[in-house]
């Protein structure tokens, strides 16, 4: 089954929409769902033109497609456990929060907190991701615990903060402090990074571009050749400011202190 949601023109297009109801499972029972626009509860049909193609007997066979001006729609795919969500353009904050299964594909950019506290499943973003991509929540000690987030463009600051499990792959560059407070999982940064892995306790972070403002509390333990990538990595352990036993690997040619 395919559910296509195309945004209607709204009188106040700047208002954020909270749409945690948009997960594949919910559409098995129809499209009689609601979302919040600011402090007003709206029927899904007030916000979207809704087209349903085919039928499905189980949620994993449901594909939800979002089109139009979706950049301010938040929480799409929150608590999603199966099925597929495809977003043609940009998507608002908290896309895929607590996701435990299924696939979210984003054609444009994702706003902040993409895949926050994710448990499993897969998020694929063709554009850039905002701040706190694949991160934790205020006050909570665990961030993303499993699954994978792949971003073809760049990610903002605090990417993979508190990463606890799963893999985060940013093909472009990260902003400030990727992998800060990391305690597990794997973070791969294809481009550059500023001050990676502060206070890291465990897990692995690889940076293939340039590291700006390397933190002073990582101890170099050697080098490692990654044959499949044809690159030598400097290997550090840290963060020794903490009790950290994490691994930070930086492409050898590109490490400027």
């Amino acid at each position: 089954m395919r559910v296509i949601l195309e945004t209607k023109v709204r009188p106040k297009p700047f208002l954020p929409i909270e749409a945690e109801s948009i997960i594949p499972r919910n559409f098995l029972k129809g499209t009689d769902l609601t979302v919040y626009e600011g402090n007003k509860e709206r029927a899904l049909s007030e916000i979207f033109w809704i087209f349903v193609e085919g039928t499905a007997v189980s949620p994993d066979k449901v594909e939800v497609v979002l089109k139009g001006d979706t950049a301010r729609i938040k929480r799409v795919g929150e608590y999603m456990d199966t099925g597929i969500i495809r977003i043609a353009g940009d998507i608002g904050m908290h896309c895929g929060n607590f996701m435990s299964g299924g696939l979210i594909e984003i054609g444009g950019n994702a706003d902040a907190w993409l895949g926050r506290e994710m448990l499993n499943g897969r998020i694929f973003c063709r554009g850039n991701a905002g701040h706190y991509c694949a991160s934790g929540y205020r006050g909570e000690k665990h961030g993303m615990k499993g699954g994978s987030v792949e971003v073809m463009g760049n990610a903002g600051d605090f990417c993979a903060e508190y990463l606890t499990g799963g893999t985060v792959h940013i093909h472009g560059s990260c902003g400030d402090m990727p992998g800060v407070e990391m305690k597990g999982g794997q973070l791969v940064i294809g481009g550059d990074a500023t001050r990676p892995c502060g206070n890291m306790k465990a897990g692995t972070c690889m940076v293939f571009g340039t590291v700006h403002y390397m933190l002073p509390t990582f101890r170099k333990t050697g080098t490692q050749v990654l044959p499949d990538r044809k690159v030598t990595m400097d290997v550090y352990t840290g963060d020794v400011a903490n009790r950290g036993k994490g691994t930070l690997m930086i492409a050898s040619r590109a490490h400027f202190p």
């Binding site: 929540y137 205020r138 006050g139 909570e140 000690k141 009790r243």
Partner: protein, 566 residues
């Protein structure tokens, strides 16, 4: 004039010797009376269990440290969120809920009076502000004196009258109810990052010992004729082997008051550990209860822990630092100049942890091995042992051996060797539960005279009606019904007004705060003591005139004047 008649109530009122009698309760203008007119509103209790409003004699719900617990815990606020509904404000939080969250949950459980376990005098205004935002319970504030410089100096000089005068001035100034000592002397040592390891260690720079502070404060308390006794959080909380300190402390306590105990020892579960390290920790509940059973001058509360996440918060700063070193989670500390300290850290009590299982067992053992339920009251040191919403489960555990056995079977396998819980047959009856949750508290706090904790004529009409038909339920086997029944009242009546019904709070509250103003002869008043005034000016960062809590903070304050022997 407003009148109310509660009909067909199945009443347990231990202080008046009423046990499961079906009767009517007439109420006029907030008090229980002998009869009401035919115009009275009528509530039909339909033979359900009807008790005096519940009283929590030791709970942390209001003030600087509690609010800091909330402030640092956005992760907890994600639990237990409710939207504004009817007369109810928004609430957030599970183990450190907002003030309205606390108030609504207590109210729907039938609780109408709560003693805040620890108020730092310098920050009393904050506690009182939150009291007014906890509108469905009458509130009392335990006032901290454990590291009070002026007190320690007077104890060193062995001037009990002066000790009493300082207590009197402080209680009146900060609108406190009773004397609280938390790790006496230890909180001052923590000012330097140290602690005391026995009640005979001298406090650094002050040359007094915890034992001397405790003894002197008991003297002062009785000299002033305060309604409640000294309320003590013993030294060495949470340390394996600490039961010796607790027993030594109990041995210090004379029997000085016919109406009530001379010492209230709080959350004794945390003070009843044998062993030498966390590896060989074991229960010393038998030793502790043996002492208490022989000493009518002591009342304690359980300090029961229940499994799950919660927040520990106490004036015992050094203890919290030790706990932080074990858990490596977040740690807050807040020392209060010239007075006390405090610490806060979140914890998870897990059935996988042998230590936690032993703690769980000790709390229950204390209650079950204390012969007189008036001597061991039900409390979790909310939220330290568990949030108070767990009380119904504790009641279930106390009333049903089967429930205990079922729980025990899920615990760490080493629990049986470290504790005696599995061999205890006692199952508490309805009356004992009523004592442990209201009558005992009222007596221990000296609040029975204020009309709390009983349903006799003249009492405050604080009444809890639970959907439990005692004659039709066997708590030993149907403990689930007991637990559910105590979770939500059919009616909670506060001062003659129905405030909660079937788990919903239905009115805006308007509580009272009880506080004590002991009379002190003018020549003893510390206000007239130039040395006291000078030290206040030089060492506090707040002026003496700005220190007292103004009346405006207690819109419905109830002052208890005491005439002591000073």
């Amino acid at each position: 004039m407003t009148e109310l008649l509660v009909k067909n109530a199945c009443v347990i009122d231990p202080l008046n010797g009423i046990l499961l009698e079906t009767m009517d309760i007439p109420v006029r203008d907030g008090k229980i009376v002998s009869s009401v007119s035919s115009a009275a509103d009528v509530i039909d209790a339909r033979g359900c269990l009807t008790l005096p409003g519940g009283i929590d004699s030791h709970s942390h719900v209001c003030g600087t440290k509690v609010n800091f617990g909330r402030y640092m815990s956005p992760e907890d606020m994600r639990a237990g969120r409710t939207a504004r509904r009817g007369k109810m404000h928004v609430t957030s939080g599970y183990y450190v809920p907002t003030t309205f969250g606390n108030s609504y949950r207590y109210s729907t459980m039938g609780y109408t009076t709560v003693l805040e376990g620890a108020m730092a005098p310098l920050e009393a205004r904050h506690t009182h502000e939150e009291f007014t935002a906890t509108p469905h319970q009458d509130m009392l504030a335990n006032t901290l004196f454990d590291g009070n410089w002026a007190i320690m100096e007077s104890v060193r000089e062995r001037d009990f009258k002066k000790t009493a005068a300082i207590v009197a001035w402080t209680l009146a100034a900060v609108k406190g109810y009773s004397i609280k000592l938390t790790n006496p002397g230890g909180t001052e040592a923590w000012g330097w990052g140290d602690d005391l390891s026995s009640i005979h260690d001298p406090v650094p720079n002050f040359n007094v010992t915890p034992a001397e502070i405790i003894a002197a404060m008991i003297e002062a308390n009785e000299l002033l004729g305060l309604p409640h006794s000294v309320h003590l959080h013993c030294n060495n909380l949470g340390k394996p082997g600490n039961y010796r300190t607790t027993l030594e402390t109990f041995d210090l306590v004379p029997d000085k008051n016919n109406a009530r105990q001379t010492l209230y020892a709080t959350h004794v579960q945390f003070h009843a550990y044998g062993g030498t390290t966390w590896r060989d920790i074991n229960s010393k509940a038998e030793e502790i209860t043996r002492s208490v059973n022989a000493k009518p001058q002591i009342v304690m509360d359980m300090g029961q822990i229940m499994f799950g996440r919660t927040m520990t918060m106490t004036a015992d700063g050094p203890m919290e630092f030790n706990l932080y070193c074990l858990h490596h989670n977040k740690w807050s500390n807040h020392d209060v100049e010239l007075e006390t300290g405090s610490g806060i850290i979140p914890v998870l009590y897990s059935k996988k942890s042998l230590v936690n299982c032993v703690m769980w067992a000790i709390g229950l053992e204390l209650a079950l091995l204390t012969k007189d339920p008036y001597q061991c009251l039900l409390a979790t040191d909310n939220p330290n042992g568990a949030p108070f919403v767990k009380y119904p489960e504790i009641i279930g555990l106390l009333m049903s051996r089967r429930y205990r056995d079922e729980e025990f079977a899920t615990l760490h396998e080493g629990t049986g060797q470290r504790t005696a819980i599995a061999s205890i047959d006692r199952e508490m009856d309805w009356n004992e539960i009523a004592v442990m949750t209201r009558a005992g508290q009222a007596k221990a706090l000296g609040m029975a005279a204020q009309g709390k904790g009983h349903l006799g004529e003249g009492a405050e009409a604080d009444i809890a009606i639970y959907p439990i038909r005692c004659h039709a339920v066997d708590p030993a086997t149907e403990y689930r019904k007991v637990v559910e029944g105590f979770q939500k009242t059919m009616f909670t009546i506060k001062r003659g007004r129905v405030v909660a019904r079937d788990g919903e709070v239905i009115v805006e509250g308007a509580n009272s705060t009880f506080w004590v103003n002991p009379s002190v002869p003018e020549d003893l008043s510390v206000r007239n003591d130039p040395e006291f005034v000078r030290k206040f000016r030089e060492y506090y960062t707040v002026r003496m005139d700005n220190y007292p809590v103004q009346d405006v903070y207690l819109p419905r304050g109830k002052c208890i004047r005491t005439e002591g022997a000073l």
